[in-house]
Symmetry: C2
Subunit: 124 residues, 2 copies
DNA sequence: GGTGTTGATATAGTTTAGTATATCAATTGG
DNA sequence: CCAATTGATATACTAAACTATATCAACACC
């Protein structure tokens, strides 16, 4: 039987962004009425690339993800473990200030900031 | 003269982690009494690599940075812009609960969690 | 039906993260 | 003084992000 199970047993590295984050990115983009092509050109990236990131085919570099996240009006912060739950609560509250204040819902909360930033007149 | 100035004018991408973050990572590592080699072997990385990241020679992938940050008892969170200042304050307060509660100090606060995880007896 | 847009995917190429190994200056400690 | 440790750095290689281009199914909309 050759016992081929897990040939190298190495790729313990994600292989894709966590689904939560991917959805948050996608939602934030769509909420702004941007297409993958539109977002890509704003950042000087390719549609292929954005698609790969959103659909979990690749895991971007830190700088790439940071640009992505920032153009979508968020940021990437390094938070001490002890504070993570609190910060996550803050984020969820910010997203839907109506819902009950639980503690482990879906995370990342797709940024309901209600600002119609249409018009991709940016060009680079 | 050929006008060679800025051949492609392209590399608008960081080229290194923000210094704040690099220092935070380095401090967190040292606070634990770990060497670059120790940390590297815990993560299955190389000392060369860690050195490159800490000294700003390279910008890691998201997954790599996440592992790094996590083994140092922090996490990487996607935070809506509107919440960034609040979260940063929380982080600073957590780091030094004595200092005055200003709003724009040095950021990232090198995780003063006071846990002596010494013992780098890892070898490889 | 036809035209256009959107997101996914294929192929082929470039760039850079990441490996493996080794060396070296600056420490530190016996 | 010598030996060991630490962080940086050099070289050569591999893996994966990222580009450029093009195609295609699904969906709209006229």
């Amino acid at each position: 039987m050759e016992n081929d199970i897990a040939k190298h047993i190495k790729p313990l590295r994600l292989g894709a962004l966590p689904e939560d984050m991917r959805l948050a990115l996608k939602n934030a983009r769509e909420k702004r009425g941007w297409t993958q092509r539109g977002l890509a050109s704003r950042l000087g990236l390719t549609q292929t690339h954005i698609s790969g990131i959103e659909s979990g085919k690749i895991v971007p570099r830190y700088d790439t993800l940071l640009e992505l996240v920032r153009i979508l009006d968020s940021d990437l912060l390094m938070v001490p473990r002890a504070l993570v739950p609190v910060v996550q609560s803050l984020i969820r509250d910010h997203a839907r200030p109506d819902q009950g204040e639980g503690d482990d819902r879906s995370l990342y909360a797709d940024d309901t900031d209600e600002e119609s930033n249409k018009e991709p007149r940016d060009e680079v």
